[in-house]
């Protein structure tokens, strides 16, 4: 067994490097390679292409176990989706893309501009509301985001809206007050619909490294995330950290965005994602 490992050291090192280069954590990489090495040894597999296929299937296994990439739309409208994440990851544009996707599906969508803090955040979302001809609820700058959410859901009920999409301000997971603000928004939502928000999605930028795991840890602790939107997959970064996240924290990627156009959003495909990781 040691001879097998050592004879092929350079080959295994290269595979390890490729996975690390894709932002998969070193622990997850080691775990996957150990599993593949065991199988390769017991089945006497020496061909690099077959080994790569084994690695890919291990990764797909991690991503697809307890597969839950469906978006939760309850029987009783409106469905309420809360979109959160650190600064600049693509929350506002993802809300717009989600809105476009649901609209194409014939759903009535309302946008909730709950980022009451950042310059022109409301105007940015308003642009999409106008473009897609959707209702949007917004308040004065620096007003309470909880109040925006309250009004949004009440208006949605009154107008027979199917889905409320809530855009929030970017924030670091280490900012206690801002995380408390999100918890408060979550309470406002359940107060209005008598159940938890149907989706609480953390937006993660593909170019982010190991910190993405810490983001999921803390956002999940505060909010109980239902899934991840992985953005900027059209960048050269592979977003491999989502494999570590799924394995260690069990939070699944539900959607990905691959560009700046409204239709650049799709449901997460584990096979496609894994193939790209090794391309």
């Amino acid at each position: 067994w040691n001879k097998f490992k050592n004879d092929n050291r350079l080959f295994w090192d290269e595979l390890e490097e490729q996975m690390i280069a894709g932002d998969i954590s070193i622990d997850t990489t080691a775990m996957i390679l150990d599993e593949v090495k065991k199988n390769a040894y017991s089945e006497n597999i020496n061909d690099p292409e077959r080994i790569e296929t084994l690695i890919k299937s291990e990764i797909i296994k991690i991503l697809e176990i307890n597969k839950n990439t469906e978006l939760n739309i309850p029987h009783e409208p409106p469905a309420v989706f809360l979109i959160v994440g650190v600064n600049g990851t693509g929350k506002t544009s993802s809300v717009a893309k989600l809105a476009s996707m649901f609209k194409k599906d014939g759903k009535k969508v309302l946008l909730s501009a709950a980022d009451t803090y950042r310059a022109a955040a409301v105007e940015q979302l308003q642009h999409y509301a106008e473009k897609l001809n959707l209702d949007i609820v917004y308040h004065q700058k620096f007003s309470d985001p909880g109040a925006v959410v309250y009004d949004s859901i009440e208006k949605a009920k009154a107008k027979g809206i199917d889905i409320v999409l809530i855009d929030t301000a970017g924030r670091m997971q280490t900012s206690h007050n801002l995380m408390e603000e999100l918890k408060k928004i979550k309470k406002v939502i359940s107060g209005r619909i008598n159940r938890d928000a149907d989706e609480i999605l953390l937006v993660i930028d593909s170019t982010t490294g190991q910190n993405a795991k810490k983001q999921v840890e803390l956002f999940n602790k505060s909010l109980n995330l239902t899934g991840i939107i992985l953005t900027k997959t059209d960048s050269t970064s592979k977003g491999g950290i989502v494999i570590t996240i799924k394995n260690d924290l069990k939070v699944p990627v539900k959607l990905i965005t691959s560009g700046e156009k409204l239709d650049d959003m799709s449901y997460f495909d584990a096979v496609k994602f894994t193939d790209l990781l090794f391309s």
Binding site: G22, Q210, T236
Partner: protein, 292 residues
């Protein structure tokens, strides 16, 4: 932290003399894990470990500290060295307005950094700063700049219907005539692999001939940081880097990888969303952060 990682190894070492090769390998393994966790590029980590190994086996072990403490000292020194120089600040043009251009990936913090930089120059050097809004793509990008600029009493130039190259040159001319000392151009986020968008920024540079060009880079960037920094530099050579979002608990290994490979210094860091959350770069502080 690296010292925390070494604590377990500390207790295992019996002799206070020279570091045995196996002990050094254990130490190097801990360093490798710490640096990869910190998002330092794996190729840079490899080179770094070689440097440390050479230094640790070559140096005379001091009497006053344990061999492992010696390694930590070497690691800290090497990291500081590899992070590049302390920021030299802004070098202004000797005649006419200083033209500064910023560029970077989508969402990296360009627009907010432009405002912070304008405020920094204004308050530190009492020079008249103006801003050109050359992002015609992102919804409400110009509004975002105008809203923030209003708070610091800075003018923003924008003209709808024009392409970014024309806006940039018209804006520079406008502010040159109205006596601005510094003119900063905010550009749209773009991927370094987007041919058309990289051509656009090269054309802006060609047209307005900036004195300073900064790449704005998110501190949370993972392994691709080197390729991003390299890709931008190949198409539009820049003078320095503005690293943003250092108020996050990200370790910031991208800083190490980027300077080591591209050799462009980090000039400024952004440490929050307030206008004053903007500082000159100091390698010692960054080093202790990367080591955790």
């Amino acid at each position: 932290t690296l010292t925390a990682r070494f604590e377990d190894l500390f207790y295992k070492i019996k002799n206070k003399g020279k570091l045995s090769p196996t002990d050094l390998d254990s130490a190097l393994r801990e360093i490798k894990l710490a640096l990869l966790e910190a998002d330092v590029n794996f190729k840079v980590v490899k080179e770094f470990l070689e440097n440390v190994k050479t230094k640790a086996t070559g140096e005379k072990i001091l009497e006053s500290i344990t061999p492992y403490q010696q390694v930590v000292k070497i690691v800290n020194e090497e990291i500081i060295k590899m992070l590049g120089p302390s920021s030299g600040g802004i070098s202004f043009s000797s005649s006419g307005p200083t033209i500064i251009m910023v560029m970077g990936l989508q969402g990296s913090g360009k627009t907010s950094s432009v405002i912070k930089l304008a405020n920094y120059i204004n308050s530190k050097f009492s020079r008249k700063v103006s801003i050109v809004a050359a992002d015609i793509y992102r919804p409400a990008a110009v509004q975002q700049l105008k809203d923030m600029a209003k708070n610091i009493n800075v003018d923003v130039f924008f003209q709808s219907g024009l392409d970014p190259v024309s806006i940039s040159s018209k804006g520079v001319e406008f502010f040159r005539k109205n006596g601005s000392d510094v003119i900063i151009i905010d550009t749209a986020g773009r991927l370094q692999i987007d041919r058309d968008m990289m051509d656009e920024i090269a054309n802006i540079r060609k047209k307005i001939n900036p004195h300073l060009i900064y790449l704005v880079l998110d501190a949370m960037t993972g392994q691709e940081a080197v390729n991003i920094a390299y890709g931008f530099n190949e198409k539009v050579e820049y003078d320095g880097i503005i690293m943003t979002k250092l108020d996050s608990d990200t370790r910031g290994g991208a800083a190490l990888s980027v300077y080591h490979v591209v050799k462009k210094p980090i000039e400024f860091i952004s440490t929050g969303e307030k206008i004053e959350d903007f500082d000159l770069f100091h390698p010692e502080r960054m080093a202790s952060r990367i080591l955790g």
